[in-house]
């Protein structure tokens, strides 16, 4: 729980990881390239006081994770969103058993989501069923640019992926977190395009699709599909830290998301250990859209409360104290949510 100026915020960090990128786990040069890319993101977007050394960035372990994520009691609950990256790391990037054990030890604080990959075929389906039972899965994290043998990417619309979605539906795995990446087959097209999310969300209206990084680097494509699909949500992983280095860009991202999606489908995430949640929550509560950006309405305290935790709590049935709950906004189910605030577009 975070308190500021007499307001209380129930905080859910909807995207954290427990990774191991130490050299002994790196399978090849790509393992190093991948964590180096993360570390550059971290160094580029963090305030100086929050920058870690390279060695400590490679691996944190459960104890440190608990300290970093839940420091000062700000974050109430956090959700693991692991990436497999089995072609880059011997034991994978996300540490399944370590993270799952941690979630079992702290069920009030942690939820473990697992992953699946349609290219694992029938065996993967069997494994998904076993994992759903053992891990009591409520959600999965899908990374479409994961490498897998000869393949370096897949689409949500691949026929086998639909088999997995059907299994999710049957197993009560309702929350599908999607992370697009740089590779897909064929390379003829834009791998970051989120059009496949559109199709899957239309075909599985009882599943919730949370697009991580709110579609960045294709914010525009994401907003356009999300405004039409009520079961598509925006995860703020990687977008959040712009609040420090590029606050006006962050204001535009938030302004666009609230305009196209409304206030009930945006989820706060630190993407730990890319960044830590404490400073992000503090900055976000203090944040406001600059007054000169008249094309966007100001972010109200209610919007901030929803983004910081209430929206994710709804998707994961987390017990939010009654006095902190808020009703859904009275907004249209599809289409722009705040057309009146768009003063510069009034044609």
């Amino acid at each position: 729980m975070y308190s500021k100026d007499g307001e209380q915020y129930y905080v859910v960090d909807a995207h954290i990881g427990l990774w191991d990128a130490r050299p002994e786990n790196q399978r090849n040069i790509h393992g190093k390239q991948f964590i180096d890319c993360f570390y550059d993101y971290h160094r580029n977007l963090s305030p100086e006081s929050e920058v870690w050394g390279y060695e400590e960035y490679l691996y944190q372990g459960g104890e440190r994770l608990m300290r970093d994520v839940f420091v000062d009691g700000i974050v109430d609950h956090a959700i693991f969103q692991p990436a497999r990256l089995g072609e880059f790391y011997h034991r994978g990037f996300g540490q399944t058993e370590e993270a799952f054990a941690l979630a079992q030890a702290h069920p009030d604080k942690l939820t473990y989501n697992h992953y699946w990959d349609p290219r694992d075929g029938e065996n993967g389906l069997t494994e998904l069923r076993a994992n759903a039972e053992r891990m009591q899965l409520k959600g999965v994290k899908l990374y479409t640019a994961d490498w897998h043998g000869e393949s370096r990417g897949w689409k949500l619309t691949d026929p086998m992926a639909y088999r997995y979605f059907e299994a999710c539906r049957e197993l009560g795995i309702r929350n599908i977190h999607v992370h697009k990446g740089p590779t897909i087959r064929p390379l003829d097209r834009d791998a970051f395009d989120v059009a496949d999310v559109d199709h899957a969300a239309s075909d599985f209206t009882d599943l919730e699709f949370i697009v991580e990084h709110c579609g960045l680097p294709r914010l525009e494509d994401f907003c356009w599909i999300a405004t039409q699909e009520p079961n598509v949500h925006a995860g703020l992983a990687v977008a959040m830290p712009f609040i420090h280095t590029r606050p006006r860009y962050f204001a535009q991202i938030m302004g666009e998301l609230v305009y196209w999606l409304g206030e009930d489908r945006i989820l706060f995430s630190s993407d730990y250990a890319l960044w830590t949640p404490k400073w992000l929550v503090e900055r976000f509560v203090d944040f406001q859209i600059p007054e000169d950006m008249t094309e966007y309405a100001p972010l109200t305290t209610a919007v901030k409360k929803k983004v910081l935790g209430l929206n994710a709590a709804k998707l994961y049935d987390l017990p939010v104290p009654a006095h902190l709950q808020l009703p859904d906004a009275d907004e249209t189910a599809t289409g722009p949510r705040e057309p009146a605030a768009a003063d510069l577009a009034t044609a």
Partner: protein, 261 residues
């Protein structure tokens, strides 16, 4: 004739090569690779009269999309090859997850499909066209929003190119991108158009402009981030970047009402 050839080869200077590389654009950022610091080095060597040019490119991360990386590397190869007097060209991409693949493919002249094999179906033409459209959409939004800042009562749906302030950078930038797409550039042509170049119904104009704004924010935000990441990855590369041009001011935008930019 001999004298002329000799003169030409003597003129294959680093500056000439860099000028040629300045015509190569990062499709996602809509900026020349020379402005964003993606050109790591240019060397002219080889026997007198038979100059070989070696260019090294670098990107903000190892995991920048390989299809865009290929486009920039192959465009760079084409641009440098067209410099008069250049005998042979080597363009290499450094520090990327597909560096070996792309550099081998370029050296052997395998082309996109030959390089990427089963991952490549036809060509990257559609990808390039998609981002040329986005570049136009962003330029359209910049021109219209600039006008709206000075006069919020402008009827956006009815705007024609002749209504835009002539000589303004935002206007010129829009005209250049329209020409790339083959859209009309005469004074009577509508400014606000959909992806297919047609004018939307007046009732749809607001939505089309708002959507264009999300494209512009996306392109500008990515440019901002990629420039920053490059300097984090390659300390000192700031010196190789030139500011994003005036026709697309980087954040912060000048957005106060009534002030023209």
């Amino acid at each position: 004739m001999t004298a002329l050839l000799t003169d030409r080869t003597a003129e294959v200077s680093e500056g000439r090569v860099r000028a040629a590389l300045g015509t190569v654009v990062d499709p996602e950022l809509d900026e020349p690779i020379t402005d964003v610091g993606f050109v790591r080095s240019v060397t002219v060597h080889g026997l007198p009269g038979r100059p070989t040019v070696e260019v090294h490119l670098r990107l903000p991360t190892s995991f920048c999309a390989p299809n865009f990386a290929w486009l920039m590397v192959s465009d760079a190869h084409d641009a440098v090859s067209a410099v008069p007097g250049v005998e042979s060209v080597v363009v290499e991409l450094d520090d990327h997850h597909d560096s070996d693949l792309i550099n081998r493919g370029m050296a052997a002249g395998l082309g996109y499909r030959g390089t990427f094999g089963h991952e490549a179906e036809e060509s990257l033409d559609e990808l390039r066209a998609t981002f040329q459209r986005k570049a136009h959409t962003a330029a359209m939004e910049r021109a219209i929003t600039a006008l709206l800042r000075t006069d919020p009562t402008v009827d956006v749906a009815a705007l024609t190119l002749g209504d835009l302030p002539a000589g303004e950078r935002t206007t010129d930038a829009l005209l250049r991108r329209r020409a790339t797409l083959g859209l009309p550039v005469d004074a009577g042509a509508p400014v606000l158009v959909r992806d297919d170049g047609t004018r939307p119904d007046p009732a749809q104009a607001e939505m089309v402009l708002r959507r264009a704004r999300s494209v512009r924010i996306s392109v500008d935000g990515n440019a901002h981030f990629c420039r920053g990441l490059l300097t984090t990855r390659y300390p000192g590369s700031e010196a190789d970047q030139t500011p994003r041009p005036e026709d697309r001011p980087l954040l912060p935008l000048t957005v106060s009402k009534g002030t023209a930019r």
